[in-house]
């Protein structure tokens, strides 16, 4: 193994080919210009080498035409890099709607993974091929970074907030996970594997850990344990906003701003409830900072999200088997 000399990484996601295409374009343009400049320097150095110590070549006046040419041409070539790179970047940030949801929590020095159905893994991530997978990530301590070279995917994992990214694996296999943001002593040990599996195998893997409880259902229990439901309720006794159908909707805040209720907003409202109070409610909610862990927060968020799914009911304790197949056409699982 140590004697192999790889020159190019494996392509195992829908994004890999797109990134590599731009990379090869950049390589070709760079090789062209580097060669052009090197050859020009060499040719001039030989052609105009000093032949006698007394020679004094005539001065040259610069050329406006040349200056404009070598300003404008690189500018236009750069713009082509910019637009192509931006297009890929947008695609990397536009998560498809039917994505499998996975939570990732980084801590010194391991990756903790929670699946929607409650399966937990450490330094391993099992995913189906042919389906987009959305990662919602946070850190318990310092900044980490979730990097899978074979997927050309990388995203910082920042304490105190959620970052998201997604990928769609294209072929079954084992692919390395690296932590790419320096995070202390065992930074280089914060590594793991993505296992990309055929959909059938993935289903088998999912049902293998059948004892676990889905995230939404664990969140529902936490919701009751912390007595959230005494205020957040659909009836007239509610002292907090009704959470049914809230996720992904526009929210009008007390200070007149509006925002979309996403994972980060839910997280912030649990830890720092009075930062962005919803219009029409008093800032009376206490903070739950220190009372719920990052993992429990993600469970609560999963529960609140489940309240916005069409077939979910507010008090639903969804059985794991129900959540294994998301509410998308089953044909999607096997696109070919």
């Amino acid at each position: 193994m140590g004697q192999t000399l790889p020159l190019f990484p494996e392509q195992a996601s829908t994004m890999a080919g797109r990134v590599d295409a731009l990379y090869f374009y950049l390589l070709a343009v760079s090789a062209f210009f580097a060669t052009l400049i090197a050859l020009t320097v060499i040719v001039f150095a030989i052609r105009y080498r000093r032949r006698s110590e007394s020679e004094l070549p005539r001065g040259l006046e610069g050329s406006m035409k040349l200056e404009i040419a070598w300003t404008v041409i690189p500018l236009f070539i750069s713009l082509s890099f910019f637009f192509w790179g931006a297009k890929i970047f947008f695609a990397m940030h536009r998560v498809p709607d039917d994505a499998v949801e996975v939570n990732v929590i980084g801590k010194q020095w391991m990756w903790k993974v929670q699946h929607a159905d409650g399966q937990r893994e450490i330094n391993e991530l099992h995913v189906p091929i042919g389906r987009p997978v959305r990662l919602t990530m946070t850190s318990e301590d310092v900044i980490h970074d979730f990097f899978v070279p074979a997927f050309r995917m990388k995203q910082d994992v920042v304490p105190g907030q959620y970052t998201t990214t997604w990928f769609e694996a294209t072929k079954p296999g084992r692919y390395r996970i690296f932590c790419a943001q320096y995070c202390g002593t065992k930074h280089s040990g914060m590594i793991g594997w993505v296992h990309a599996m055929d959909p059938g195998e993935y289903q088998t893997w999912l049902s293998g850990g059948a004892t676990s409880e889905s995230l939404a259902s664990a969140g529902a229990k936490l919701f009751q344990r912390h007595a959230c439901n005494t205020c957040h309720r659909p009836d007239s006794l509610a002292r907090g906003p009704n959470l049914e159908g809230l996720f992904g909707k526009q929210v009008q805040l007390a200070d007149g701003r509006t925002l979309v209720a996403d994972e980060s907003y839910l997280r912030e409202s649990i830890l720092n409830p009075n930062a962005k109070t919803v219009a029409g409610f008093q800032p009376i909610m206490p903070t739950f900072q220190g009372l719920v862990s990052e993992e429990e927060l993600l469970q609560l968020v999963a529960y609140i999200k489940s309240l916005s799914k069409p077939q979910a009911s507010p008090s639903a304790q969804l059985p794991p088997s129900n959540r294994a197949a998301p509410p998308t056409p089953s044909g999607k699982e096997n696109p070919k």
Partner: protein, 544 residues
């Protein structure tokens, strides 16, 4: 010749700046910019070889995939201290404080800098800052990476963050005072007839550098104070556990540290302009474009810091803006490369050692600049960010660019500084060794980076080994290449042949006085009557 000094070879003065006074006091209390430059030369060399030693240990660890040569904690301290010493104590002061200090006054025909005492104070401040950092290194070092990212640096690391940060904070003031001194000197001390567009391009690039130093360094000083306040007083700026925002640190840090890249490379570009003209015996092609490219880089350089944060979770639209601005800042650098190349056209090109370094600079800086375009392209940056691709890219700029420029400049001006000639054969050999060693060290790292090897890894998967072995082999060659000039330069001070006033036949004012120059630089204050770089008084040819 270009400047009307009385005669081409002035009479030998009684004293030069080296022999005018003797003893330790005459050096430590000097106000002569040339002696202060030599104080800097000695101090930065200590840090250059210290930083090089750290690099060597890093490369030895990476010879094998397992983390077996040093412990993980030691490794993390090694790469941190390699970055800290090389950037803050070698690369930033190298060309400005040594070559700028020595030659800016001489190139504009002045007796000294505008504030000679402040200049000496700058050196003392540098030494105090360096001692703090040196203390931290000796007492166990620091392991945050030279970037000091929060909350690791404020909440997690238990190494000597504060002592190191205070050292950098203090040294920052040395930079600020030097920058201020240069700006005032260039505005007020120019010789009669030395108009702005007769300034040598080294002076233009030093001026642009000084602007960045004076405007940018206070920001990093404030940022360090905030890290200090959070680590010691638990004021929550960056740590989310204290209510802070860790990304804020990155904005503040890169607001200085990206322009700092130009603090390091702009002066080297100035040196290259001097070398290419002198050793082609030609006026620079497109003087104003090269001069304004420096100013353009200084201005645009302040607007691109966010390209270090494309995967930090900052908004997609911020990413777009920083991406396009990063492409824009590449243009003035490209313009300079094209103009240097065109300067050789129909010139009289000599292959003396300084010109070999100029060739090396043009080649390596071009590769460094072109790979910068990969990083400015958002979609590709996501993959190569924080991998060895970045390491390779910025070493092509910093080592392939700045150190090549620095060494080229030191060789070029050595006869003036020391009054002695260095041995040309050895110098050419060393330049070749450095060029080969450099490429063998850093080119494989581009491939490693695209394969996905992350930076700052103590141990790595074994499929990356072959490329790492190549890199380590290159680093040992590079190390030898850097030691050879140290030896023959010191040797030449005692045994070298005496240098004439103008060994290269250059038109610069600094060559119109004796080697080494008298304390007041010129026997008679020069008067300038021509543009710089006028090698021939025949009619100027028009191209294009």
């Amino acid at each position: 010749m270009s400047a009307a000094v009385h005669e081409p070879e002035p009479p030998e003065p009684r004293d030069n700046y080296l022999t005018s006074a003797y003893g330790v006091r005459s050096w430590l209390l000097t106000r002569d910019h040339k002696r202060i430059a030599l104080l800097y030369l000695a101090s930065i060399n200590v840090f250059f070889f210290l930083g090089g030693l750290f690099a060597l240990l890093i490369r030895l660890e990476l010879l094998t995939p397992e983390g077996d040569f040093v412990q993980a904690e030691t490794y993390n301290k090694l790469f941190t201290m390699h970055g800290v010493t090389m950037i803050f104590f070698f690369m930033i002061p190298a060309i400005p404080a040594v070559l700028g200090n020595f030659f800016i006054p001489m190139m504009i025909g002045a007796k000294d800098l505008a504030f000679p005492r402040l200049n000496l104070l700058s050196w003392y401040i540098y030494v105090v800052g360096a001692l703090f950092t040196f203390w931290a290194i000796v007492h166990g070092g620091v392991d945050t990476g030279w970037t000091f990212y929060t909350p690791y640096s404020t909440a997690s690391s238990n190494s000597h963050v504060i002592a190191t940060a205070v050292g950098i904070f203090i040294t920052g003031f040395s930079s600020i005072l030097t920058g201020l001194n240069f700006i005032v000197t260039i505005h007020t001390m120019r010789a009669p007839g030395m108009t702005w567009f007769r300034l040598p391009l080294f002076v233009w690039s030093s001026y642009a550098t000084s602007l960045i130093i004076v405007l940018g360094t206070p920001v990093v000083a404030v940022t360090i104070l905030m890290v200090f306040a959070e680590r010691v007083l638990h004021l929550g700026f960056f740590d989310p556990a204290l209510g802070g925002d860790p990304i804020l640190f990155q904005h503040l840090f890169w607001f200085y540290s990206h322009p700092a890249v130009y603090i390091m490379v702009l002066p080297a570009m100035g040196v290259i302009s001097e070398l290419v003209t002198t050793f082609s015996r030609k006026n620079i092609f497109g003087y104003k474009f090269v001069a304004f490219a420096s100013i353009g880089i200084a201005v645009l350089g302040f607007l691109v810091w966010g390209h270090h944060m494309f995967v930090s979770g900052q908004s997609v639209y911020a990413g777009l803006i920083f991406s396009i601005l990063s492409f824009l800042v590449a243009i003035p650098s490209a313009v300079k490369v094209f103009n240097w190349t065109a300067t050789m056209y129909k010139g009289s090109v000599s292959y003396r050692t300084p010109m070999l370094y100029a060739f090396g600079f043009i080649g390596l800086f071009t590769i460094g600049g072109l790979t910068g375009l990969f990083l400015a392209s958002l979609g590709v940056d996501v993959h190569v960010h924080d991998t060895y691709f970045i390491i390779a890219h910025f070493h092509y700029i910093m080592v392939g660019g700045t150190i090549m420029g620095y060494l080229g400049g030191v060789h070029y001006w050595w006869p003036k500084i020391s009054g002695k000639l260095y041995p040309e054969g050895w110098a050419k050999f060393a330049a070749l060794v450095i060029f080969i060693g450099f490429n063998l060290t850093f080119f494989p790292q581009f491939i490693l980076g695209y394969l996905g090897m992350p930076r700052r890894y103590h141990a790595y998967p074994e499929e990356f080994q072959v490329l790492n072995v190549m890199s380590t082999a290159g680093a040992s060659i590079l190390g030898v290449g850097y030691i050879i000039p140290l030896i023959y330069m010191v040797w030449s001070m005692r045994y070298g042949r005496n240098a004439p006033a103008n060994p290269w036949g250059s038109t610069g004012l600094e060559w119109k006085t004796t080697s080494p120059p008298p304390t007041d630089n010129f026997e008679t204050p020069p008067v300038v009557t021509e543009d710089p770089y006028v090698y021939s008084h025949e009619e100027v040819e028009v191209v294009g």
